[in-house]
Symmetry: C2
Subunit: 160 residues, 2 copies
C-alpha cells in the first residue's frame, strides 16, 4: 500500500467548500470524520463510524471501506476479522465536507454490526414520551452470524 | 415546553448497552451525539447533524427534529427559518448507543440542505484514485429553493 496522500486543507472560503469541486474534507479535533454507511441494495443505514485521513485515502484508493477504530486506536479494514467487508459502490461528501456517505455492498454474512446484525441500528426509540426514561424496542434485530464464533480475539469491540 | 428530562448515564456494561432496552445515549466530550437523517420515502441520506441532550429530548417529545447548531451554539428546530421542518417517522439508536438514525418526512420545499438541495450529500467522491487531490462531481444537486431568498438572517450557516 502506497503512503496515503494528504488531502488539501479546507480553508474558510464557504463558497469553495460548498460549491467547489475540490475535495477538502474537514476532520475534527481528533483527526476524524464521521461516515454513514448504507446498503447499496436496500438503502438502510448500516452503521455510523469514523475515518482518519489514512482510512479515507485507503477507501478511495481500494474501494474497500476502511475506518479508524476509536476503541482500538488503529486503522481497520471493515471485515478483516468477520469477513463482512464492504465494497464501496458510491462515496459522497456533504455541503461543508465534514461527513462522508458510503453506499456499500457487504460481503459474507451481509451483516455490518459486530453483534451479528445486518445493521447497527436494530433498536427503535419510541416517540411522544417526555424526554429520558424511554424503553427501546428491537426491530430488524435478527442475527446473521454468531459474534462469539466469528470474533476470536479478545480486544475491545465497540466499533461495528 | 417542559424542562427536558435527563437521559440515564450509559455506564460500562457492554451487554446492557448493546442488548438492553434502556435508552442511555452516549454523548461525546462536547455533549453531542451524531444524527443521520434519511428520507422516509426515498431512503436517501439527507444530512448528518448533531443533538445535545435537550435537542434529543425535544425531538422525542415533539416528533419534530431538533438539533444543536455547532456554528451558532444553540438549539435549532429544523425548518424554523426555512420552513423545511422534519417530522420524525422513526428514531433508532445503534449498538453502542452513540449515534441516532432518524427517518423523516420533510415539510415545505422537501429540502434538507441549507444550500437549497434535497440532501446535503450532493457531491460524489470518485473512487480508485490514489488518495488526495480528487475532484468532486455533482449528483442530485438541483436546488429545491433559493437559499438567498429563504435565509434572511446574516448569522453564519454551516449546519444544514
Amino acid at each position: 500500500m502506497s503512503k496515503p496522500a494528504v488531502f488539501p486543507p479546507q480553508g474558510d472560503n464557504k463558497s469553495e467548500i460548498e460549491e467547489g469541486a475540490v475535495f477538502a474534507p474537514r476532520f475534527d479535533a481528533d483527526g476524524l470524520i464521521p461516515v454513514v454507511a448504507t446498503s447499496a441494495s436496500t438503502g438502510e443505514v448500516l452503521m455510523l463510524a469514523y475515518m482518519n485521513s489514512e482510512a479515507l485515502a485507503r477507501t478511495i484508493e481500494t474501494g474497500e471501506a476502511h475506518y479508524w477504530s476509536r476503541s482500538r486506536g488503529r486503522l481497520w479494514r471493515k471485515g478483516e476479522e468477520s469477513g463482512n467487508s464492504q465494497r464501496v459502490v458510491e462515496m459522497r461528501t456533504d455541503c461543508d465536507q465534514d461527513a462522508i456517505w458510503l453506499k456499500v455492498e457487504t460481503a459474507g454474512a451481509e451483516a455490518a454490526c459486530h453483534t451479528g446484525r445486518r445493521s447497527c441500528f436494530y433498536r427503535a426509540v419510541p416517540l411522544g414520551a417526555p424526554g429520558g426514561g424511554v424503553s427501546l424496542s428491537f426491530v430488524d434485530a435478527e442475527r446473521q452470524f454468531d459474534p462469539e464464533a466469528v470474533y476470536v480475539t479478545l480486544v475491545p469491540q465497540r466499533e461495528p
